[in-house]
Symmetry: C2
Subunit: 377 residues, 2 copies
């Protein structure tokens, strides 16, 4: 049943910490707790009264949504112990009242007899709603901003199904991008080809990130696609992520319009080996910073400048989350985590390469979730 495990885990945690009521206002929390997936591509609608929120009270859950968002949600249905309450924001008969109606709906859902500790995601909750609770007699606000983070690291079978669908989409995008990398085309053209292929495969709009940069750009490790033209000697880093069902994928490959130079071939092959080496280290019990250190050491020994970014990261309802594979992070990897690894080599303004796969931690190793062709031409 949709996201029931997430709510059960959270309920147990809140009981343990003695919090009977919580208002969740962070979009990642709301998505993770309910499976609700709002449209995001055009930013916040002027009809909204605020972010989607979830009210928890002694094991009962209420998702509070702008009325128009319900049909957009691609997988949100009736759920046990989680009702959905909507507010109208827009009507032609009277002024826009999204904010007022959301707040009235919240008051109704939360009831009048508020007392004791109320958990609140203080970084994301609208200030007026928080101040109103703060001023309520006998209410004590408790910041719960990071309380779900640890749970979010371990994926449920339902989450993995959603994520696999996204990785299939990024595979499709990469096939289109690989074909589109041709002399005279521009970064934005490659981007469009990948995005169109993904939306056509999904049969719907799909939010889409991350990078598409030719190697001769000064900042050639990442960036949004622009009008830089692809030349015969260009490398093109294509780093793609999609958001279907509220979960992000990620992936990276490097393509070439012409025959890669010997230098580019060597860089590419070293990066392939670095990625495979990193993957060989992934298993439950492995420590994030040790994997990071070993991957960096691999690059150093191969005689290349060590990439300035993370060796990898996890993802889910956000495109980047813990465990991050970075120098300081002593977290231990566990089964059912999904880890991105993405070594690269960058010669700013000249050429660059990055290759990235997604790995699902299994009982004794890792399963590759990405299947895009990252090989040299």
């Amino acid at each position: 049943m949709p996201h029931e495990i997430q709510r059960a885990q959270t309920h147990a945690l809140l009981q343990k910490r003695g919090i009977a009521r919580v208002l969740f206002a962070n979009l990642a929390s709301v998505k993770w707790l309910t499976g609700f997936n709002p449209p995001i591509q055009t930013g916040s609608s002027p009809f909204l009264g605020g972010p989607p929120m979830v009210w928890y009270e002694n094991g009962a859950w209420t998702l509070i949504l702008f009325a128009w968002h319900v049909p957009y949600s691609d997988d949100f249905g009736a759920q046990p112990n989680c009702r959905c309450v909507t507010y109208e924001g827009y009507a032609i008969e009277k002024p826009l009242r999204g904010a007022a109606r959301l707040r009235a709906t919240l008051r109704r859902v939360m009831g009048k007899n508020l007392a004791g500790k109320i958990g609140l995601e203080l970084r994301d909750a609208p200030a007026d709603i928080a101040l109103s609770l703060y001023e309520t007699k006998r209410v004590k606000l408790v910041a719960v901003d990071t309380w779900l983070d640890a749970f979010r690291q371990i994926k449920t079978p339902e989450e993995l199904q959603k994520m696999r669908a996204n990785f299939r989409l990024t595979d499709i995008g990469h096939a289109a991008a690989r074909a589109a990398v041709q002399v005279g085309r521009r970064e934005i053209d490659v981007w469009n080809a990948a995005h169109a292929a993904i939306e056509q495969a999904a049969g719907q709009r799909v939010p889409f990130g991350n990078d598409c940069v030719v190697g001769y750009r000064q900042e050639n490790s990442g960036g949004a696609p622009l009008a830089f033209e692809i030349r015969a000697d260009s490398s093109v880093i294509v780093d793609l992520s999609t958001l279907l069902y509220g979960y992000w994928s990620d992936s990276c490959a490097t393509y070439y319009a012409g025959e890669p130079s010997p230098k580019q071939r060597a860089m590419h092959q070293t990066t392939e080996r670095a990625l495979e080496f990193g993957i060989s280290l992934l298993k439950p019990g492995a420590v994030a910073c040790e994997i990071d250190a070993q991957m960096r050491e691999f690059m150093r020994r191969a005689g290349y400048p060590v990439y300035p970014h993370h060796s990898g990261h996890s993802l889910g309802v956000t495109a980047h989350q813990d465990p991050r594979i970075v120098p300081y992070n002593k977290m231990t990897l566990q089964e059912n985590m999904v880890i991105m690894l993405e070594p690269g080599i960058y010669f700013p303004g000249e050429t660059s390469v990055r290759l990235e796969d997604a790995l699902l931690l299994t009982r004794d190793g890792a399963e590759r979730l990405t299947a895009h062709d990252k090989s040299l031409p």
Copy 2:
């Protein structure tokens, strides 16, 4: 100089109302005050510590941004009396600290000697920042959420330049959509064709709304594109908006894969006349609800069901704003407002038509800003 008029107007208003300090946290306000235009297509980045904000203090302005956002801003440069302060959110050497760094930066920018009234956009400010100010001795918070709305209605020459660039993009999108409406293709294919044409023309990513629906969909007045196939007798409503330089365009046309039926022709022609009639009413001094009433009366007299939505609306840093052309709205139109008009006729589940133009209110009438071909085939 970029958005200087906006800051001067706001400064004068704040002086008049006796508010020496304001923290703006609403994205529309931030864009309007500074010209800053953040990327929005993939939602809020996990590296951010909160929304971009603007601090006003006695006529001096500070824009507070996540460091990585600066290069993405397509038109934000050095500005008189408005400095830009950035915070780091992401580094590989230590845990994600966007939230903590943004708050530390805010404290530094705002200084220690806070006293008296501080204006705050209470619907958008993060709760913890508001609570921290609320708990500061001798500080009194004042909600300023809608204070800029009236200013935002009248466009400056700089804003009109940005909006014209967007209307040119929607024209380009419509030309591609019109060509893509063919039997056997799907809504999402038409959408992709329009979006790709727009991004290719812009040479960069462009956030993109609104609707692409075949007439035989039950809800055929709007909606995101899906996998509905275009048939020989299909009407296809294509309602497009773009966001370049922080400003939205809007536009709508209706296309046909085959020869429109006599009923579709009559509907289309009536809608064309309704739109031209509406445009003929636009001039400074005209009252929004009277235009709305006359356009609805036009449809009624033509023997069609009156569209259930607004007759039109304004737009700018948001895709929908006052003056709305709706039954209750007694606002008077003024020179340099931009008004969308969009009459339509809907037979749910069968066929539908909507046509929409953008009009700039001039001294004695209106200039059309959209130039897409809305005619029958």
